[in-house]
């Protein structure tokens, strides 16, 4: 097979595996800080114990998630060079500083304080431990900031000049805060919020279904529902703005997303279709008239450019068309489920024993809904930039590796096997951790606490 295609598949496989973990940890870091603060502020001993249990379980989830994010991230930092050696040679002057700032300001920060956050509790004071938790969360967010600055720049390049085929930085503010960056960053942070919220909801619901839940699981479930119910509509708004921005700067991406071949006024929204690059038309269309124009132009008769305006350089239509629908569909489902869940929960007087089991099963079934939406969204973004690696300026094929395709194929097989194995193990361990009652705290009852809360504090159980 073609070396460029193999390099692409390999990079895509790695980036797909990698993004699963930051998409949880970016938001989970802040949720941990929230649990910790709730634990410290609670005056009722039982509540204090509940929040502590929540903190401890989810700290373990964070540690596991973070470790997988780190190892796949290290792989990615190498694959920039092994798979796209020409990329750095051409745009290294711009991408280089952004990547090094990520390592210097974010990567080290999270890695440096993770040890203190995870294992340092009995060795440092409460304030320092809280500080470490905050810095890990901040580091994770900053990491997303720099990576999305670079990714957005590749989508909507700004602030550069080209001298002898080499890119040079002209204005760093314009490079970092390029036209699509604010939208992309907000969109990603909200995607992580939803992914994390549904993980909280799903695993707590699973614990309730399995009968292994403590009062702690109820608190986590409620936190997750509120978090999701707020993040889902915010994401819809952010997504809309992001779409308008894409229409302005990358109209070919929108044309592929909407499956529009000819430039149209009053373009319909296609609910179903099978776009065909060969015939340059769609099969089996199911459409809502004028809706695409209304959404994108905020005018039912607005004009949308078709793919035929970009004959030699538009992204492949089919994967984009369907990734987008999977993303939006999952997003709408998350919105509905979180709202219905929260409403039902409120109506039951915040009493979880009244939550119907089918609803709990639905929650558990959507544990990884955020992953589906995030990956689909990422594909829309990344495949949508093709055939360019830097929109309109450098083609992906120009910068690909000169490594023999047999080597790429061999390592691709090894990587994919490893990733699938680790993913199965990850989900399996999450399930196991959520079902296994915590040994050390399980024995502590609320009577113990009411009698002698200080004893547990001095033993470090609460500290």
């Amino acid at each position: 097979m073609d070396a460029v295609l193999l390099a692409r598949i390999q990079f895509a496989a790695n980036i797909t595996f990698h993004i699963l973990f930051p998409s949880i940890s970016i938001a989970l870091g802040w949720v941990l800080l929230f649990f910790r603060l709730k634990h410290l502020r609670a005056t009722d001993p039982q509540q204090k114990l509940d929040w502590l249990r929540a903190y401890r379980l989810w700290t373990k989830v964070f540690a596991l998630t973070f470790a997988l994010g780190v190892v796949s991230g290290v792989t990615m930092s190498f694959q920039f060079g092994t798979n796209w050696p020409g990329y750095m040679e051409r745009v290294g002057n711009i991408a280089g500083p952004l990547l090094s700032y990520e390592v210097l300001t974010a990567f080290f920060l999270e890695a440096g304080f993770l040890g203190v956050m995870l294992f340092g509790h009995r060795r440092v004071g409460e304030a320092i431990h809280l500080g470490a938790t905050f810095l890990v969360a901040l580091g994770t967010l900053m990491s997303a900031f720099w990576i999305l600055a670079l990714n957005s720049w590749m989508q909507t390049p700004a602030g550069y000049e080209i001298v002898d085929g080499q890119f040079h930085a002209r204005n760093w503010l314009e490079i970092v805060f390029n036209p699509s960056f604010p939208y992309r960053f907000v969109h990603m942070v909200l995607a992580s919020s939803l992914t994390c919220a549904f993980l909280l909801i799903g695993i707590s619901a699973w614990q309730l279904l399995k009968g292994v839940a403590t009062a702690s699981a109820s608190r986590v479930l409620r936190t997750g529902l509120v978090f999701a119910a707020l993040a889902a509509p915010a994401q819809m708004v952010a997504g809309d703005f992001h779409g308008l921005n894409t229409l302005k700067y990358q109209p070919q991406k929108i044309a592929a997303v909407e499956g529009i071949w000819e430039t149209t006024r009053g373009a319909p929204l296609l609910l179903f279709a099978i776009p065909d690059d060969a015939t340059r038309s769609n099969h089996f269309e199911l459409a809502v008239p004028k809706l695409a124009s209304l959404i994108l132009r905020h005018d039912p008769d607005g004009e949308l450019k078709g793919l035929n305006e970009f004959p030699s350089a538009h992204p492949p239509v089919l994967p984009l068309f369907w990734s987008f629908r999977i993303m939006v569909g999952t997003g709408i489902l998350m919105l509905l489920v979180s709202w219905v869940g929260l409403w039902r929960h409120w109506r039951d007087g915040w009493e979880f024993s009244l939550m119907p089991r089918p609803l709990l099963r639905l929650f558990a079934g959507m544990t990884f809904a955020g992953w589906v939406a995030t990956i689909a969204g990422w594909y829309v973004t990344e495949i949508g930039r093709q055939p360019f690696i830097v929109s309109g300026l450098i083609r992906t094929s120009e910068v690909a590796s000169r490594v023999p395709s047999a080597s790429i194929a061999l390592t691709l097989v090894i990587y994919v096997t490893l990733y699938v194995g680790l993913l199965v193990a990850y989900v399996g361990v999450l399930k196991y951790m959520s079902e296994k009652p915590e040994k050390r705290l399980a024995a502590v009852t609320s009577e113990d606490l009411a009698q002698d809360p200080l004893r547990y504090q001095s033993r470090g159980e609460f500290a």
Binding site: V70, V71, G96, V103, R122
Partner: protein, 334 residues
């Protein structure tokens, strides 16, 4: 040399930074990879203590690799393409090792108890694979990716010697961080790893000038020869002291940190020797730092970040080592 402008100096600053990152990586991930490899000689309980001794650090240790390779990527893009294309397969295998190891590290305590032994095996295998690949990569790199029958033998020798050096470093780390029975074992492991590591170091020191003309001229020309001779002499003294200490009772008590510290010194000296051999090339005899460097303006932008963040990074790394100083105790989340 005297009239070098700041822009001409920048690539040198960056090759220095990159070298230091990789040195810190080799020492810090070296001891934790070493601990990982030694786990196959330990009982399940000892394995828990061994993992606990590196638990708070391994993540930050690995970050130095990302910084080192990152700097190669951003400061010397041409060299990066060349080096990583040549080392494509060993790099991929090293990454597989690091992935297995990093994942197994966390899975082993969170998965079902009956899976723990499996994750331990993954952890040990991952540590070995990563170390062997790093040795091979170092060997290929030092010999400038030469073609011929002698080069693979040379790289193969380093692929064995470097894991031995890591194992020794890991064993002396355990001498420092543990006590009682495990410490006794660690002293024994150190003694076992000592001879092959020293032999490897001697072979490499002899083979490098044999393989590379450039290196030979640089080391065996007077008067520089007299000055640089201090590197092997000091290394020999440090290594001899390590061996003597391992036989002495004091290593169980007050001086438990000294073998590790002396080995770090040996690593530092080897690094200086290697830098002296290679300078001013990024890839020996093929690319100098100036030929491979990015534009001065982007290097300047990165340098600002480095000057601001590196002291902070060093400060909080020091803080973390202070928090977890002393003998290892059981790791316990939060």
């Amino acid at each position: 040399m005297m009239s070098m402008s700041f822009d001409e100096l920048l690539p040198l600053i960056f090759i220095g930074l990159m070298g230091v990152s990789l040195l810190v990586y080799v020492v810090s991930d070296g001891y934790d990879l070493g601990v990982g490899m030694l786990m196959h000689r330990a009982t399940p309980d000892e394995r828990d203590t061994m993992v606990a001794s590196i638990g708070p650090f391994w993540d930050a240790n690995e970050t130095w690799l990302v910084l080192g390779v990152g700097l190669l990527l951003v400061a010397f893009p041409k060299a990066h393409g060349l080096v990583l294309s040549e080392l494509y397969l060993p790099t991929a295998l090293m990454l597989v090792g690091l992935i297995l190891r990093g994942a197994a590290f966390d899975f082993r305590v969170k998965a079902k108890a009956d899976r723990k032994a499996m994750w331990d095996r993954m952890f040990i295998a991952g540590s070995m694979l990563a170390s062997v690949c790093q040795g091979w990569m170092l060997g290929r790199y030092i010999s400038g990716f030469g073609e011929g029958w002698n080069y693979p033998i040379f790289a193969g020798a380093i692929a064995i010697a470097l894991p031995m050096a890591y194992a020794l470093l890991g064993a002396t780390w355990l001498v420092m961080k543990t006590h009682g029975e495990l410490q006794e074992k660690a002293i024994e492991w150190s003694k076992i790893a000592f001879a092959p590591m020293v032999l490897g170091l001697i072979l490499i020191s002899m083979a490098t000038p044999w393989i590379s003309e450039t290196v030979r001229i640089r080391w065996f020309t007077l008067p520089a020869m007299i000055a640089v001779a201090s590197i092997p002499i000091t290394s020999s003294v440090a290594l001899l002291t390590v061996r003597l200490l391992l036989g002495a009772p004091a290593v169980r008590g007050a001086l438990c940190w000294l073998p590790f510290a002396l080995l770090v010194l040996v690593f530092l000296l080897s690094f200086l020797g290697l830098s002296y051999s290679i300078y001013p090339y990024v890839v020996i005899d093929r690319l100098t730092v100036w030929q491979a460097a990015s534009s001065p303006e982007s290097l300047r932008v990165i340098l600002i970040g480095v000057c601001v963040t590196l002291p902070v990074i060093i400060a909080y790394t020091g803080f973390s080592y202070r928090v977890f100083r002393g003998k290892t105790i059981e790791l316990d989340y939060a």
